[in-house]
């Protein structure tokens, strides 16, 4: 690698469209699982609040799942989802997202004061109306905090998918390594970090829109 600069800017200039496509692919692979994870975690969290006995075993299970090394899980799925398919990477990422979002959902739902719950009932809210108008909005700061952790982790984990043939920006690491050419690797690291940063900022913005009160009380960071 003698004499090869860390970044060859003209390569980046020549490959802007390519880098954009990889970034978009990466965003889909990493973030769709987080959305699905949210859709799974909220009902699961509701069930855990209603039947508290469910929570410990489920939380323990997902704690173990979260600790499983991503590459190993991708590989184990290959016989079912195929090599170099999006599903091989997205299915495990969904499980990781649920593992982060389930505890935050439960914390958020439990943070609603009993007096508020009873006040809603006294005002004539049915269980469904109370859930959508009182409990879920109160959980929003917790959910967005969980989403931030889940999304950022998912974005950096998705790159490992390149080793099983589908990792969005992760492909740049393989490509650069095989050609002893650091420019794509640096571009990949920067783009992954940028994608994480932008997603994180969007989620902070979303929280401010949905739960403007959270900034003052500091709930859910």
């Amino acid at each position: 690698m003698d004499g090869e600069p860390l970044v060859r800017w003209h390569w980046i200039g020549d490959h802007l469209g390519y880098l954009r496509d990889l970034t978009l692919d990466h965003a889909v692979i990493a973030l769709v699982p987080v959305l699905i994870g949210l859709l799974v975690a909220v009902p699961l969290g509701l069930a855990c609040v209603r039947w508290p006995r469910l929570y410990q075993p489920l939380a323990g299970l997902f704690n173990v799942v979260y600790a499983l090394p991503s590459l190993a899980v991708f590989v184990v799925l290959i016989p079912y989802t195929g090599l170099a398919t999006r599903a091989t990477v997205m299915v495990p990422l969904t499980f990781y997202a649920v593992a982060v979002l389930l505890p935050t959902t439960v914390d958020g739902l439990r943070a609603v004061p009993e007096a508020v719950r009873q006040a809603a009932t006294a005002m004539g809210y049915g269980p469904w109306h109370r859930l959508t108008a009182v409990e879920l909005p109160a959980a929003v700061p917790f959910l967005t905090a969980g989403l931030r952790v889940a999304a950022v982790a998912s974005i950096s984990l998705a790159a490992v998918g390149a080793l099983v043939g589908r990792g969005g920006l992760g492909y740049l690491f393989i490509d650069g390594f095989q050609r002893t050419f650091p420019t794509p690797i640096v571009a990949g690291i920067v783009l992954v970090a940028l994608l994480a940063l932008v997603t994180d900022l969007l989620l902070v913005l979303l929280r401010r829109l949905l739960a403007p009160w959270a900034r003052r009380t500091g709930a859910g960071r």
Binding site: P69, A72, G170
Partner: protein, 231 residues
């Protein structure tokens, strides 16, 4: 072919029973690499964490580190380190250490800062020096939190060491990467299964350690996973 056949092929291959590609040897390699990375990370991160946690200064470093460490792609760091520094064990250790250090630092600082202020005041009041308060009062109180950080780091290092096989590191990742390269599924799957078992075993060992460091009264309260820990 099914799982049992795959695993049978993997475990009964002569290469996997003795020699440099033996399963026992690969597991030992994986443990040594992970242990080295974790030890170096601890030497770097724990003193800083103690200082930040005890003085309350520089907490912004903690917040920044948590965010950055989560956003960095391990595969990118590993490939870049090897391209820049060459394929030797030290070059591969750098990204492993870089990824293991932040959770350690954060957990140490949080554990120390979480010591009951009244207890700290009382310790000062009976005439202990700052050093005695830190090591005699705060460190024992911080152990469970700090160990949870070590667990997060350990699991992270085991996963990253697997990925680092791509750039030539030994350990269980060799089976996964070599199997993928040669389209040898039994090898890949066998390696993946061993990595999963190693990660779960590490979790269990740390769960036990954390339980042992908790004061008896606290042991009843089972700890639920928190957002802070998930890294």
């Amino acid at each position: 072919m099914n799982w049992l056949n795959w695993l049978n092929t993997f475990f009964s291959a002569p290469d996997h029973r003795s020699g440099p590609d033996a399963i026992v040897h690969r597991i030992a390699e994986h443990l040594v690499i992970s242990g080295e990375a974790l030890a170096i990370a601890a030497v770097l991160a724990v003193p800083v964490g103690l200082l930040i946690g005890y003085t309350g200064r520089g907490t912004f470093v903690v917040t920044a580190l948590t965010g950055v460490a989560r956003a960095l792609p391990t595969l990118g760091l590993v490939t870049l380190a090897v391209l820049l520094a060459g394929v030797d064990d030290l070059a591969v250790l750098i990204p492993l250490v870089a990824l293991a250090a932040p959770p350690l630092l954060v957990a140490t600082a949080e554990g120390i800062a979480g010591t009951d202020p009244e207890v700290r005041d009382a310790a000062r009041g009976i005439g202990l020096t700052h050093r005695q308060v830190l090591f005699g009062v705060c460190v024992p109180a911080a152990l469970p939190t700090a160990l949870a950080g070590v667990r997060t780091s350990a699991v992270q290092v085991i996963a990253t060491a697997t990925v680092a096989a791509y750039v030539g590191l030994g350990g269980l990742g060799r089976y996964v990467i070599d199997g993928l390269a040669t389209r040898n599924f039994p090898t890949t799957l066998g390696g993946a299964l061993l990595v999963v078992l190693l990660a779960v075993a590490t979790q269990l060992v740390f769960a036990l350690l954390i339980r042992l460091t908790l004061p008896p009264g606290e042991r009843v309260r089972r700890s639920a996973p928190s957002t802070k820990e998930a890294l």
